[in-house]
């Protein structure tokens, strides 16, 4: 069995170098504009930085994938098409795309550039994956975080292209690329602007003994003043629904599927993806280093250490999310 490919995040050129040094087989990153789904201030790559970073990674034997995974704005396809063309020109190993129109453009205008399907396309079954593979020549699909390991294995039995699964980092509980919750509360949309629950719309206010965490006009959580206040990501908030009060959608936990690596390998998965392009260089380094060890242990049939990364996770709690059926 081939070792699993470790696909690591890089929000900046420095993070890319840190990821490569820590043992990333592959790094994914995006241009500094609305073409990628992590369009946050201070992140991402200029054209020059992208070209230099791809060259840096290639010289050290690592690959670079360029995420162009928002949905192009009506009337303005140039920005997204230029991102595809520039990724090809700089020698990117693949582009990660979600939009049907852009996949069609890339297949026709940059046929030599490998195409991966972003998780933002939410292809959650073999028929959807085969549709993208047959129609647009997609070679790898990043699977949505709504599937169990058994379902992933069943998918791999029915498809020709590769699959990549998230193993660590944030946990989207909605089908990615099909969620407008942030747009509803803030006007900033993952699909259109590459932003979810953006910091520009976050505010905190003390009320008596409580801290109120808000997003736009909405209160997302209330915590005791001296307790840790989780970032008010909309779907991880505390709300009231009927008689229930609490985390209606998801607890503020991070995904950590390190202990499932062997199962992923058996399920026919090609690559493991670490989330966190918005995180610091030291975070990237620590996570990549730990997963490098885990992937190598798996390849040698050795046990994998659990919970090594707990200090880096949200609320110091982790979940294997949808990979276990009980999550649903």
């Amino acid at each position: 069995m081939n070792p699993l490919e470790l696909v690591c995040p890089a929000g900046t050129p420095a993070a890319l170098r840190a990821a490569v040094e820590a043992g990333a087989d592959t790094v994914y990153c995006g241009f500094r504009d609305e073409t990628n789904a992590r369009n946050f201030p201070g992140l991402n790559f200029s054209r020059t930085e992208m070209e230099e970073s791809i060259d840096y990674a290639h010289r050290r034997g690592s690959k670079v994938l360029v995420a162009i995974n928002t949905f192009p704005r009506a009337g303005a396809p140039e920005l997204w098409r230029a991102a595809v063309d520039d990724a090809a020109r700089f020698g990117a190993d693949a582009v990660i795309l979600a939009d049907v129109g852009l996949l069609d453009y890339a297949a026709n205008h940059q046929p030599g550039l490998r195409r991966h399907l972003s998780v933002q396309a939410a292809a959650a079954n073999p028929d959807a994956i085969n549709f993208y593979a047959e129609t647009f020549g997609v070679r790898r699909v990043v699977l949505p975080r709504v599937l169990t390991v058994q379902e992933i294995a069943a998918i791999n039995r029915e498809i020709e292209c590769e699959t990549e699964v998230f193993v660590f980092g944030g946990l989207c509980v909605m089908a990615e690329g099909r969620c407008a919750l942030s747009a509803y509360a803030t006007g900033r949309s993952p699909n259109m602007n590459g932003a979810c629950s953006p910091a520009s719309h976050v505010h905190y206010k003390e009320e008596g003994s409580e801290l109120v965490c808000g997003l736009g006009d909405f209160t997302i959580n209330r915590v005791k003043k001296d307790a840790p206040a989780p970032y008010p990501t909309l779907c991880k908030g505390c709300f009231q629904a009927g008689d229930y009060q609490g985390h209606v959608f998801e607890d503020p936990a991070s995904l950590d599927a390190a202990t499932l690596i062997t199962e992923f390998a058996s399920a026919g998965v090609t690559a493991l993806k670490i989330e966190g392009r918005q995180r610091s260089r030291s975070y990237t380094k620590a996570v990549v280093h730990t997963f490098r060890k885990a992937v190598e242990a798996q390849a040698k049939g050795l046990p994998i250490m659990a919970n090594e990364l707990k200090r880096l996770t949200e609320g110091q709690t982790t979940t294997s999310g949808a990979y276990s059926k009980t999550w649903r």
């Binding site: 089908a175 736009g216 209330r222 959608f249």
Partner: protein
Amino acid sequence: MAGQALLTLGPVLFNWPVEKWADFYARIADEAPVDRVCLGEVVCSKRLPFYNDVISEAVERLEAAGKEVVLSSLALITLPRERKAGAGLAKDEEHVIEVNDLTMLRYLEPGRKIAVGPLVNVYNEGTLSWLAGRGAKHVCLPPELPIASVESLAKAGAALDLDTEVWAFGRVPLAISGRCYHARIHKVSKDSCQFVCGLDADGLPVKTLDGGDFLAINGVQTLSFAYGSALGELDILTQAGVNSFRLSPHDCDMVAVAELYRQRLDRKISGDEAQANLAALLPEAEFANGFLFGDYGAEMVKKAERQVA
């Protein structure tokens, strides 16, 4: 031309008892001034067996009343039984299928006439044009699109000979998940959910801890608390080239809702008057149109009403 715009009734998104579901479509057939009716299970495949047997009767009655009938697919296809249901739906060659998950394109022959629902990501001309090439004749745009994008797409849609539709009434579908939130808050699993989503005919409101109205859950789906209303913007949108408006069924007098939209499209009442009448029909509801103005979706932008008054 405002008078030529069509009204489309979207599929019932909620878990209604079979009798209520059948009665609803019987009344729509007999009384509602809608041109096109999309029906079928979009949200959760577990609900379909309850009313699968009465669908063909509803379809016949709607068609006898002169409505165009479109059969809607599930919005998130993951399980083997859901793939099978999608492939089965595609075998119905008498009706146009509304694609709500691109998985359906694997089952539908290229070139066959299709509709595309609001849960498919059609944000730009490239995607619209590609879908038109696959046979799309009727595309309901994602509800989060602002008017500028709608205008650009409606223009492209006209050139591609397809109806461009905008979400015009009803709680806005904001997200869909592998997880069932109704089951979760009732402390049952999705697999043995006891169909608790059936307790809430319009979805279960989700309030903030300050008591503010925010969202509504409907099984695996999350909707807005506010009812999307483009009633004040029908003029702007028809001038932009939109030629179809979607009314999403709720547990209210949908015939009266459709009549209001028809009257407004026929310019028999003003935008302000129509919106006031809509509010009177749904006294508990809040309304929002923020997405159309590139604002946050929950907002009701009043300046729009002034522009069309």
